[in-house]
Every structure is written in structure tokens, then in C-alpha cells.
């Protein structure tokens, strides 16, 4: 990723990052640091005197099989949602980019789901996936009890995976399409002249050229599925049934802010953060090498 022709005015460089660093320090690192301090103490909800307990909170977290369950669920969730939503989005973007008749309609509509606020999504999903009454009730009539996210943990997990993938598909689509559109038309046309068919051009010309975007989206989707999946779970399954959809971030929220055990939540936040940071770091090390820049 080294750029060859770089500038070397250090004062300017510092001035350019200063605003961002300042904001990040005040509104992220300071508060996070405070939250992390709670992880080694027992913090009463209303503040006041907290006691130093060392690693106790972490020991409590790691000794709890329910915690490991939430790690397992989160990993499955992250991998499947990322794969699913990226696949859908890239497929749609490639096809829209073919610009057949009517493609404008799609450009403007695929992103809309991302604009829906949580309550709307909640109602919609309740309606679509309810086993007795929704769309899928038709399937249940043919195969009784095939689909019941309220009672079957696997179904519930499948439900939140679909919901998250659906939510992110529009977002991913926007970036893929922007990337595809910025590929010089001449490149693709040259490919066509050489006799490469549509699918071949997608595979050999367009996809390699959008790998920086793909890499960006893989990172964003994976981190997002770890850290921003709270809303979907809260609306659809509440972590149930029997903790089948108890994602790490949902568990942190329910233990900490519903349960008022700030210290236990803080310890879990640290673990979550270490996990996501190292995961991202690994991706930078091993995936970014294959990314095709300039």
C-alpha cells in the first residue's frame, strides 16, 4: 500500500489529521477508556465508590458457557451475513451495470431498504416471517412446523441472518455500483473486442478492478455484523429462543444496560473489541495483499 510519490510536510500532515483525532479522542477513546476501567472494578450503576477486582469480571465471563454460546452464534452470524449480502449485492450491481432496458429503476430502488427505520423493519419482518400468519405460513401449511423462529433456534438464527443481509444488501449495492461505474468504459469495451463474453468480462475485468471496494465492504460488513447487529436482534428475536440468537453485542447490552451490571458488560466489550480488532488486523495482513490497487 506504500505510495511512491508522497509529500513530506509533517506539520501539514499533522494539521490534516488533527480534527479527526481530536473528535475520536474526546468522543471515543475517553469514554471507552472509562468503560474499560469498569472491567477491572465492580461499578455500581449510579456511580460512587467502585472496588478493584482485578480479573474477576473476565473470569466470570469466560467461565460462563452462555458467553461461549454467544461467541459461536456471533461468528456464524458474521460469516453468513457477510457472504450472503455481498453475493446478492455484487450480483445485482453487475447486472444493473449491464444497463439493459429499465436499469435506472433498480439503481434508485435497491438502496431504499437501508433508509427504513427500525420500527418499520420490525413490523415488516413480523409480517413476513410469522409462522402462523405471515408469508411463510403458506409453507408451514404444506410442511407443518418446518418454519418456526419463535421456537426453533436454527430458524431464528436464519431469520436474523436474512434480516441483516437484507439490510446491508442495499448498502453494499451502492458501493459496488459506484465502483463498477468508475471503471473506464474503454477497458470493458476492449475486452468485448477481444471476444470476451459478458460473464467472462465480469470475472476477468470488472471483478478484479473492484477488489479495493470488495475489501472495504468485507471489513465493514464483518465489523458491522459484530457490532451493529443490536437493532435487528432487538426487534425480531430478543436473543431467543433459548439464546439461539444471543449475539455478543446484544448480550453486552442486555447484561449492562438492561441488567445494570456495567462491569460485566465492560469486560465483554473488551473481549469483543480485541476479537474484532485482531480479526480485522488479520484481514489486512492476508487479504489486502491480494487487493488490486491502481
Amino acid at each position: 500500500m506504500e505510495k511512491r510519490a508522497t509529500f513530506s510536510n509533517l506539520w501539514l500532515a499533522a494539521a490534516l489529521v488533527a480534527p479527526q483525532l481530536l473528535l475520536v479522542f474526546v468522543f471515543f477513546y475517553w469514554p471507552s477508556g472509562e468503560a474499560l476501567y469498569w472491567a477491572v472494578t465492580l461499578e455500581p450503576p449510579f456511580g460512587g465508590s467502585n472496588q478493584w477486582v482485578g480479573w474477576m469480571n473476565f473470569e466470570t465471563v469466560f467461565a460462563d458457557p452462555k458467553y461461549w454460546n454467544s461467541v459461536r452464534v456471533s461468528v456464524i452470524f458474521a460469516l453468513l451475513t457477510t457472504a450472503l449480502s455481498l453475493a446478492i449485492a455484487v450480483l445485482l450491481a453487475l447486472f444493473v451495470d449491464r444497463r439493459l432496458a429499465g436499469h435506472q429503476i433498480y439503481k434508485f430502488t435497491y438502496f431504499i431498504p437501508y433508509a427504513l427505520a427500525a420500527p418499520a423493519v420490525g413490523l415488516a419482518f413480523r409480517f413476513i416471517f410469522a409462522p402462523d400468519a405471515g408469508f411463510v405460513s403458506a409453507i408451514n401449511r404444506v410442511f407443518p412446523n418446518l418454519w418456526n423462529p419463535a421456537l426453533d433456534g436454527t430458524d431464528a438464527l436464519a431469520l436474523i441472518i436474512m434480516a441483516q443481509a437484507w439490510n446491508m444488501a442495499g448498502y453494499n449495492f451502492v458501493f459496488f455500483l459506484a465502483a463498477l461505474q468508475s471503471i473506464p468504459r474503454t477497458l470493458v469495451e476492449a475486452g468485448a473486442m477481444d471476444g470476451a463474453g459478458v460473464l467472462r468480462r465480469m470475472r476477468d475485468i470488472q471483478l478484479p478492478l473492484i477488489t479495493p471496494t470488495l475489501f472495504f465492504l468485507v471489513i465493514i460488513n464483518i465489523t458491522d455484523s459484530f457490532v451493529n447487529s443490536f437493532g435487528i436482534v432487538d426487534i425480531t428475536t430478543n436473543g431467543g429462543p433459548a439464546r439461539a440468537t444471543d449475539l455478543m453485542v446484544y448480550k453486552i447490552y442486555s447484561d449492562g444496560f438492561q441488567g445494570k451490571d456495567y462491569s460485566l458488560a465492560a469486560a465483554q466489550s473488551i473481549v469483543l473489541m480485541v476479537l474484532v480488532v485482531s480479526l480485522t488486523f488479520l484481514q489486512f495482513r492476508f487479504i489486502e495483499r491480494r487487493v488490486h490497487y491502481s
Binding site: F46, P149, G240, A242
Partner: protein, 445 residues
């Protein structure tokens, strides 16, 4: 103190015209957890208070839910930006009692000349919000209790015109209902409020040692050794036999919807849903409410209060407290407070005086509200005993969540019922010990 009356009139006119002509009024903040339609009722109550006088102004802010109201108040308190009064739900009572952040209701009333008849509250309500020594630390506001909702037409199919009195009778009824072709005799969910808490109170069963925690933070959960386990086994048997159904929002409709559209013949839920059922019911649904079935009809104890109470927070100015006192006086009075709440929602009056006042006005004779007095009967069904007084356990919301997910596991066949409830008790006790350690040295008032 006294002002010329035309000023008051002028202020009221100015307010109702929607302008803010109240610069010299003393303002104080009130945060509440009610949302949706109930949030509107709450906002209206504030507005009525502001229009009723010209000295004070309540700045009322909905927080988007009970849990958020508690959570935001705590965050605000830590930043010294908390409101003067806050509405906190039943399960948050212990946190607030131990917080050191509040102005106990009794003391507040004495200090600011608020006349409260502390013995006028229904004993079930008073005891729930009082300290072990019997002193009230918050003002009961919107209150409810659990009742049995039943479809009278369904029961008439099996030749009965009365709701079952005992659980054994209810079990027989369910069997008969099934035989009579009723698809779903009973709708239930995994909410512990009616299934564990109300069941234990009405049958005089302990949930935790030390009188359900009133005796101190060292209490241990014991509900895995009581009739609660058999009660849940009965539920499971009814589910397996097709007598009952699980109805949660995740299934597509919750209990209230399933009852209101006639697909299930009975349910147990808050009296506050009375209005919802009335408003959304199938046109020909012929229904009523009754007290919860119990194990032994002769030994029925009172049911528990649910809902929320108003807490005064510490650290405010004398003027703000005076304003707060005026507000509390207005919203808890029989005519301007209880009547307003009760007639606009499904909640119940909290004082004997309020109940008598409404009865005298013919409120309970109105077909729209008929049946709601059952809730009062249920709350006052017996003397309040040590086990029907309430539950005072640290972090109770988390304990509820533990039991709930263990019940989900049991009802979906992943665990045996006794094992699931044992596991919930174990996890719950861990929570209690952490809580005790966090508040080391503190004692429940």
C-alpha cells in the same frame, strides 16, 4: 403565594393558544417511560397540570420505554443532569432504593408539605414500593395486576358460565374445551411476571429466601423447589396435548391479539390490556376477566402490583422541589390524577379513595370499563403476607431474562423442565451474588 386571578386566566389562555408565555414560571424536569398511546396520555397529563396553575411548569420528556427511562436517568445522574422526577417501573425499584440518588417520598412529602394519606394506598401497592420498615420511597402512579381473561362463549360450550377458580379445574376445562372443538383453549408466553411472580404470590409460594429479598441482599432464589415447577410442567403437558398454544410476537401474534381475535379462548395478562382487548376485539367476542386460578381456592393470597411509580431525585433546588410537589399533588389526586389515568388507560386506581371516587361516579358500571374492578379484588384478596408483598431482588430484570430463556429451552424440548428451572435458579443466584458484592456494605432500606 396568591396571585390575581386574571393573571392565571391570561396564562391559561396563552398556553392553550400554544405560546410559551410563561417565562417566570419555575420549571422542573420530569422523565417518563411510557410510549405510544400511553405516552400521549402522559404528555396530556403534564399539559393539564401546566394549565391548572401559573406558578410551575413541568417539562415532560418521554424516554422511549421503561428500560430506557431508567438507563437514561442513571446516565444523566452520573453527569449531574438528571430530572427532578422520574417514572421507574416496578423491576427498577431496588436499584433506585440503593442508588443514593433519590429523595425518599415520605421525607419529601414531609419537607415540602405534601399531604399524602400513606395508608390510603391499597396494601398490595403500598407494600410493593415501601421499604422493609413500611416507609414509602416513591409515589405509586400507573398500576396494574394480572387477571384471567376468558372467552365466555367458549366456556359455555362445555356448559360452564364461570371462570375456573383453581388450576386443577382449569386443567379439566382445557381438556373439555379441546373435546368440544376449541382449537386453542389457552394462550401463554414466557413472561415471568404472570407465570412465576403472580403465580407464586397468589399461592403463597416463595420466589427467594429472606421473604423474597425484603430481608436483605443475601437472598437466594428458591423457586425451583416450589409448586412453580409442577405448574410449568402442567403448561408443557397442555401444550403437548394441544390444549394450549405459545403466542408471542415472534410467532406472529401475541397473547392479546390471539385472545382478541378469538383464536385462543383464555390468557393471563395485565389488567392494563383490558382497553386493548376492547379496542381490537372481534366484534362478536363475548369475554370477561376473573381473578387468577389458584391451587387452593380457600387459601388465595393477593396478587402483585405491576406498572411504575414516580421517584423524586436528589440534588435539586428548593424551587424545583416545590414545583415537583405541586406536580405530584396534581397527578396523584383522586380526581385530577387517578381518574385521569384510569379512564384514559387500562390502569387501576392506587388508593381506596380513588377507587371509591370512581365507583361513586359510576365508572365501573359503564360497559366499556366493566370488569376492571376485578383487578382491585385480586389485589385486595387477602391480607398482604410476606410472600405476597412483592419481590425485592437485585438486578431482577436479568433474573427474569435468565428464567425466560430457560423456559424457552424447556418448552422447545431441549431441556427437562426441572433441569431448566434449576439452571435458571443457579444463574440467577450468580447474578444476586454479584449484585451483593457490587453493593458491599450497603443495606436495603
Amino acid at each position: 403565594m396568591t396571585r390575581v386571578s386574571f393573571l392565571a386566566t391570561a396564562a391559561a389562555v396563552a398556553l392553550s393558544a400554544g405560546t410559551a408565555g410563561a417565562a417566570e414560571r419555575i420549571k422542573f424536569e420530569y422523565w417518563y417511560g411510557l410510549t405510544g398511546d400511553l405516552g400521549e396520555v402522559m404528555a396530556k397529563h403534564c399539559q393539564l397540570f401546566n394549565e391548572s396553575q401559573d406558578k410551575y411548569e413541568a417539562v415532560c420528556t418521554g424516554q422511549g420505554g421503561y428500560d430506557k427511562a431508567e438507563q437514561n436517568t442513571i446516565a444523566a445522574y452520573r453527569a449531574k443532569q438528571h430530572p427532578t422526577i422520574v417514572q421507574i417501573y416496578d423491576a427498577g425499584t431496588v436499584n433506585f432504593m440503593l442508588s443514593g440518588a433519590i429523595y425518599p417520598a415520605k421525607k419529601f412529602a414531609e419537607d415540602y408539605g405534601l399531604q399524602v394519606d400513606w395508608d390510603g394506598y391499597f396494601p398490595g401497592i403500598k407494600n410493593y414500593y415501601a421499604t422493609a420498615g413500611g416507609e414509602m420511597w416513591s409515589f405509586p402512579y400507573n398500576s396494574s395486576t394480572a387477571v384471567f381473561y376468558w372467552n365466555k362463549d367458549a366456556w359455555s360450550k362445555i356448559g360452564k358460565s364461570e371462570a375456573p377458580k383453581t388450576w386443577a379445574e382449569f386443567g379439566e376445562d382445557l381438556k373439555a374445551l379441546k373435546a368440544a372443538g376449541v382449537e386453542c383453549g389457552f394462550a401463554f408466553d414466557f413472561d415471568t411476571w404472570q407465570n412465576l411472580e403472580q403465580f407464586s404470590a397468589t399461592n403463597n409460594l416463595p420466589i427467594a429466601s429472606l421473604d423474597n429479598g425484603y430481608g436483605g441482599l443475601g437472598a437466594e432464589l428458591v423457586f425451583n423447589t416450589t409448586a412453580f415447577v409442577d405448574h410449568m410442567k402442567d403448561y408443557k403437558a397442555w401444550l403437548d396435548a394441544g390444549y394450549a398454544k405459545i403466542q408471542t410476537a415472534q410467532v406472529g401474534k401475541n397473547m392479546v391479539q390471539a385472545f382478541a381475535d378469538k383464536s385462543c379462548a383464555s390468557m393471563i395478562t395485565s389488567i392494563a390490556n383490558h382497553g386493548t382487548v376492547k379496542n381490537t376485539q372481534a366484534a362478536d367476542l363475548n369475554w370477561g376477566v376473573a381473578m387468577l386460578p389458584v391451587i387452593d381456592a380457600a387459601a388465595r393470597k393477593n396478587s402483585l402490583v405491576g406498572g411504575a411509580s414516580l421517584w423524586v431525585m436528589e440534588g435539586k433546588s428548593k424551587e424545583e422541589y416545590e414545583a415537583a410537589a405541586a406536580f405530584l399533588k396534581y397527578v396523584t389526586a383522586s380526581d385530577t390524577g387517578e381518574k385521569f389515568m384510569v379512564s384514559n388507560t387500562g390502569y387501576i386506581p392506587v388508593t381506596t379513595a380513588g377507587f371509591e371516587f370512581l365507583k361513586a361516579e359510576g365508572f365501573y358500571a359503564d360497559p366499556k370499563y366493566a370488569g376492571r374492578e376485578i383487578a382491585i379484588q385480586s389485589l385486595t384478596a387477602s391480607e398482604v403476607g410476606p410472600l405476597s408483598r412483592g419481590i425485592r431482588l437485585g438486578n431482577f430484570t436479568s433474573i427474569r431474562a435468565q428464567l425466560r430463556s430457560e423456559l424457552e429451552a424447556a418448552f422447545t424440548g431441549q431441556k427437562e423442565m426441572q433441569v431448566a428451572i434449576d439452571d435458571a435458579v443457579k444463574a440467577g443466584n450468580d447474578i444476586l451474588r454479584r449484585y451483593e458484592q457490587t453493593y458491599k456494605g450497603a443495606a436495603l432500606p
